[in-house]
Every structure is written in structure tokens, then in C-alpha cells.
């Protein structure tokens, strides 16, 4: 009985802790909204973050997108061949990439690369008192540090998703048409027939939401770091885990709403 009560007790505490944390992230989001519309916007910081989140993530996103498209074509070929529908591979890869894999894989890769760096950088600024120094100089850290990162996340993840969608379909084309000898005309005809602009738009809206999630979580964890180098490490790990899970959960609900 005592063990059972202790289990309930721990479970209750964990729920409360998580609800409290979700509330704090939401409050940070509202603070970001209020600072994002207050001039002056820190354009230099925004451009710097866009370069970091976007330009510097292109290589990893291209690699991930290309191989995902290639493996989809390869796997699809074996399935579709059973009922002689190999020509549907092009549209399957394109639908899969634009609606689902493009936004999700891109944002997971950006989470690992840029979301973790946001948490580590802000965490390190917290433990070396650089964030306190901003307060002391009557400058708001949310305006200077967090708003540019959130704007960069929301703006750059959809752009990276477009890149990922394109190279994914190109990878599928390469494997489908040149390796598996599917008819090129049918490959493209089925793409244009079955993929609508809405699939692409909705995928990009998802990507923008995921960009918000990964940057908000990365900034929240970094900004609230406690306890020196160990704390920075913990914040970075927690940021990647929480942002990745949140992206996958949000993906389900966004898909349910949009498609």
C-alpha cells in the first residue's frame, strides 16, 4: 500500500512539474509575442540567427532529404511491384515528402543542430552572467536573444523544408527512374496528378509550427539553465528531447486538423 501511494505521489509530482513547465513555456511565448512587435527589431541579430539556423543547416537537410526520398522509392518499389503499380512511386515519394517527412525530418535535424545550440549558447550566457549583464544595462534579454532566434526558427525551417522536399523528390526520381527503370513520364505524371499545392502549403505551415517549437523550447531551456557546465549540458539534452517529442506530438494534431 505504501509503495502504491508513493507511486501515485511521484506520478502526481511529475504531472505537476510538466504542467508547470508547459505553463512557463507558454508565458515565454507570450513575452516573445509582445517583444516581437515592439521596435526596434534587432535586424542584425535576426540575420545572424537566420544564417545559423538556415544557411548552416542546408547540408544536413539536403543529405537527410535526399536519402529519405531514395529509400522511399526503394521500399515503395517492392510493395507496388506486387500489384504492378510501380508508376505510383513518384507521387508516393512526393506526397510523403511534402506532407510529412519533409517538415518532420527537417525540423528534427534543425532541432539537433540549431535547437541544441540555442540551449547551449543561452545556457552558457546564463551561467557566465551575460544575461544578468543585459538586465544590468537596462536591455531586455528576450528582445535581444530570444526574439531573433524564434523569428529565425519560424522563417527558416519552412525554407529548409522546401529544399528537403525538392531533394527528396529528386532522390526518389534518381532511384525510381535511373536505378529501378520506372517510366519517367509516368513518374512525373502521377506527381502532378496526385500532389496538390495544398499538400505543399500545409507541409510548410507545419514546418513553421515546428520551427516555433524547436526555437522556443531551445531558448526556454537555455534561458532557465542553472548550475554551471553540468547545467548547460542538461539543458541542451532536455531541449533536444522535449523539442523532438513536442514536434512529433504536434505533427499528429496538425495532420488531423489540416488533411
Amino acid at each position: 500500500m505504501k509503495g502504491f501511494l508513493s507511486l501515485i505521489d511521484n506520478l502526481g509530482r511529475a504531472v505537476l512539474r510538466n504542467v508547470e513547465e508547459a505553463g512557463k513555456i507558454l508565458l515565454l511565448f507570450f513575452a516573445v509575442l509582445s517583444w516581437a512587435v515592439r521596435p526596434p527589431l534587432k535586424f542584425k541579430n535576426i540575420m545572424k540567427q537566420m544564417e545559423f539556423v538556415g544557411v548552416k543547416s542546408i547540408f544536413v537537410v539536403v543529405l537527410t532529404g535526399a536519402f529519405t526520398g531514395m529509400v522511399m522509392a526503394l521500399q515503395g518499389y517492392h510493395g507496388f511491384r506486387m500489384f504492378s503499380a510501380e508508376s505510383l512511386i513518384g507521387s508516393t515519394v512526393a506526397l510523403g515528402m511534402t506532407r510529412e517527412l519533409g517538415p518532420v525530418l527537417t525540423s528534427l535535424m534543425v532541432t539537433a543542430r540549431a535547437g541544441s545550440a540555442m540551449a547551449a549558447e543561452l545556457g552558457s550566457m546564463r551561467v557566465t552572467e551575460q544575461i544578468d549583464a543585459l538586465y544590468v544595462m537596462a536591455a531586455n534579454p528576450i528582445q535581444h536573444l530570444i526574439v531573433p532566434r524564434i523569428i529565425a526558427g519560424i522563417a527558416m525551417v519552412p525554407i529548409l523544408t522546401v529544399v528537403s522536399d525538392f531533394v527528396g523528390i529528386a532522390g526518389g526520381y534518381f532511384v525510381g527512374v535511373h536505378v529501378l527503370q520506372i517510366n519517367e513520364g509516368l513518374f512525373f505524371k502521377n506527381i502532378t496528378k496526385l500532389v496538390t499545392l495544398n499538400d505543399i502549403y500545409n507541409g510548410l505551415v507545419k514546418a513553421a509550427c515546428f520551427g516555433l517549437i524547436l526555437s522556443l523550447v531551445g531558448c526556454y531551456k537555455g534561458f532557465n539553465t542553472r548550475g554551471g557546465a553540468e547545467g548547460v549540458g542538461r539543458a541542451t539534452t532536455e531541449a533536444v528531447v522535449l523539442a523532438s517529442i513536442s514536434i512529433l506530438v504536434a505533427d499528429y494534431f496538425l495532420t488531423a486538423i489540416m488533411f
Binding site: T128, Q130, D132, A133, Y135, V136, M137, A138, A139
Partner: protein, 248 residues
Amino acid sequence: MIQLKDIHKSFGAQKVLDGLDLNIEDGQTTVIIGRSGGGKSVLLKHIIGLIRPDSGQVVVDGEDITKLNDKQLNEVRKKFGMLFQEGALFDSMTVGENVSFPLVEHTKMTDEEIRQVVAERLKAVGLTGVEGKMPSELSGGMRKRVALARAIALHPQIVLFDEPTTGLDPVLTEAINQLIIDTQRNLNLTCIVISHDIESIFRVGHKIALLYGGKIIEYGTPEEIRASKNPVLVQFLSGSTEGPIQIM
């Protein structure tokens, strides 16, 4: 004039400040001494509004800053400069960008005017031609000098120093002490210095306050402090392990 009135502050079960009272006089350097982990940095952060007390008042020029909202607090903070223990320079910015940060943020100076002021402030702390360097390229002593240049960039009335000489060799310690004395005198600043270094305490302080058990238990001029028979103060100044200060 800064007045701390009956300040109480706890973190969880740990009581850090327990009814602390202290008056900081204008145009003087007040040194706050006390054992490590005794709440000196917490006290400093109360003075600039980085931490709010559980109860009590922090009065700066007649205004209780514990009652102010963020916007009002920022106006008060423009009177302050602060030199953090490790400098707290922004890693991603050059020395020039660090020192110019408060000027860009709070003045309408042109780029050329800012460049001139940055060069002047750096010269005032004994540095020239370092504007393009990154903080990681500087030695510990140089970082503290740059941080002081940034702290005085906006001509503040009050400058807070959080252990300015910790981790420096004796020569650099003396150089930083002299810098504090010169800066205070030349700009007629009110300085509040936290230090463990006994020589520095008597070198830079017009007034010295001993924080112990969450309260200021001794306050006076360097001569009065030297002459004090307070056993905590005597043990602290002599560095003895015997006495009322318990070693954990």
C-alpha cells in the same frame, strides 16, 4: 544615496539575508566583506534589482526599487554600471561592440561618436587598439578592464564591483585596485565593491561593511575596522580557523 532597509531573502529553506540594513553614501567606495557563500553577491543583485527581496526596501535616490515595474526599473538601472566577477563580456561580440553596447542601446550617438567614446573609455582603463579583438583573445585582467570600460560607458553614478580582483596575480590585483580608485575619483562615482582580498579592502574602501549571518554586523572607515574588536571581524581579517566563523 542607497539605503537597504530590513532586507530578508531566502532561497528555499536557506535564509541568506536576515533583516539586513545598510546605508551607502554617495561619492564614496563602500566595500562589503564576508565569508564565501554568505550572501554578498545576492546583496549586490538586490541593489540593482536583479533579485527582489522577500521583504524590506532598497531605496536608490529616494525611490524604493522593489516596488517598480520592469520599465521603471530599467530607468533606475541606467544610473548603474556593474563589473561582474568574470567580466560577463558578450562572447559573440568584439571588445568594441561590448563597450559600445550601452551607448547603442540608450543614446542616439552616431557611429563615429560611439567609436570615439569607446576609445576614450578603453583608454581610461589602460587599453588601446583592442576594439577588434574577441573576449576569448584577452587575458583575465584585460577582460576585467574591458568589462569596467563597458560598465562606465554611459557615465553611471554608481558602479558595482563583484569580486574584481579574484583570480588575479598580485600585480594585476594592484592594477585593478588602482583603476577602481582612479575611476571613482575621476568620475566622482559611488562604488560598491565585494571583495575577499584583505589588502584590496583597505586600499580601495572609504567605508567597509562586514556581512555575517545575513546582517551587516560591523560598519566603519578602514581605521575603525582595523581597530574593531568584533571577534567575527578579527577572525575574518586574520584568516584564522579559530573563532566564531565555523568551517563547514
